[in-house]
Amino acid sequence: MKNDKRPNMKIIGDNTASGGHYNDAKIIGNGIIKGDMNCVTFKSIGDSTLEGNLKAGTVKITGSIHVEGKTTADDIRVMGDLSIDGDFQAGHCHLRGGITTKSGIKADDLSLMGYVTVKKNCEAETFKADGQIKIDGLLNADDIDIKTYGTSRISEIGGDRIVVRKGSGSNLGKMIRFLFLPSDWGNAMVTVNTIEGDDIRLWSTKAKVVRGKNVIIENGCDIDLVEYKGSLRVHRSSKVKEEKKI
């Protein structure tokens, strides 16, 4: 995809550049790009702002970046903070730190450690997240694996295989909690309205409705209604108000 006609861009220090078509774009320090950015590789170390859309083959970010438009990339790796005002579309997505978007996410596979805040729907083939998740729309993926630290809130989850579990946390934290705080304080929990999938396995989940083929409810769950086709197993410490076999 390398194109010899395109120039390279480099910002070192504190500077502003205009958008356009580039081959390699690199920012070290504090960069502001005005206009749409279209490049083969985009790398940013430090703090940058993009006043326009970002379209790139590979994106690598260490530090923080704010994109005021849409972001489209084949491969994106972020160590730090990514905030996007528009839609976010990516092939392979590897995020360590956090991502905030005012719109939706569409990715092939998304692996995340940290926090994610999405205002609309989040779609991926595989969704793997460790951390705190807030999705106001639908989380739709074939394979969903969530490990929650702190409270996560997702409006709806739909997919094929869905696993929600609780992050273990550090031993010291556990001891402090055990000694000084009420037992349910700061408990990691995922709150969802509806979960629909084929194979569902849940830990520490609070849900109104869970619908699936094979459902396993492990400990720490509080669910109003479970509808299942195949099998259902409920851990004795979990609460299920109503269960229906269809």
């Binding site: 779609e123 739709n140 074939d142 739909g158 997919g159 094929d160 409705v209 209604l225 269809i246």
Partner: protein
């Protein structure tokens, strides 16, 4: 809006597909987002679908998915025009568009030798309106002009073409799909065509006709 809805649960039972499949198809946009209708019921919110259309669509996906990959299917079923180019002679020869319609098309939008998908769609719609006898040649021109001017703005959305006649005066409308319209009693809705389904039909026709890659 239609009243005949089917709940998600009933749909899965009826068609034998799983949640995973339904969500996968939704993700690939094989099932349009605006077919998911949310309604509150006594168990909380539930999702409903327009019954006839979703059943037909799922039947279609099930039949075609053995031959085509999901991405190819998505391309056929999406309301967005695909990137095919077809020669004019080919369209006439394969009876996609009749010669007479082609002449009218040339008068309005100029003489073209190669048609991209959008132009093919316009010509195809024109041909449909003319051959069904719903519109005259002059009226066909109005339709073409409306399409050429306004259809691109509907990109990615479901869109319907309406043709209305009152006291011998006719006009043509483009509206967002499935919305309800009311006309005054004197006016007559001659024809309503869902462009999205025509797009689907045309795409299938073009790919089955063996000239999906254009110049042969």
């Amino acid at each position: 809006m239609e009243n005949d809805l089917i709940s998600k649960k009933e749909l899965l039972e009826l068609t034998g597909i799983s949640y995973g499949q339904l969500y996968r198809w939704k993700r690939k946009m094989l099932v349009p987002e605006d077919w998911f209708i949310r309604k509150s019921t006594f168990t909380g919110q539930e999702t409903f679908f327009p019954r006839d259309r979703i059943l037909a669509r799922i039947e279609k996906i099930k039949n075609m998915k053995d031959d085509a990959s999901l991405d190819e299917l998505a391309d056929i079923l999406s309301p967005n025009p695909s990137d095919v180019e077809v020669e004019k002679d080919m369209l006439v020869k394969e009876k996609v568009v009749s010669e007479i319609s082609m002449d009218i098309f040339a008068q309005v939008l100029g003489i073209l030798d190669v048609f991209d998908f959008q132009k093919t769609l316009y010509a195809y719609l024109l041909d449909r309106m003319l051959s069904s006898g719903d519109a005259s040649a002059e009226e066909g021109k109005i339709i073409l002009k409306t399409l050429a001017e306004s259809f691109p703005a509907f990109e990615g959305k479901q869109c319907d073409l309406l043709f209305v006649r009152k006291l011998g005066v006719s006009f043509c409308l483009l509206i967002e799909g499935q919305s309800r319209i009311s006309l005054d009693p004197g006016a007559k809705l001659v024809r309503r065509i869902s462009i999205s389904s025509v797009v689907e039909e045309l795409k299938t026709k073009l790919s089955n006709g063996g000239f999906s890659d254009g110049k042969q």
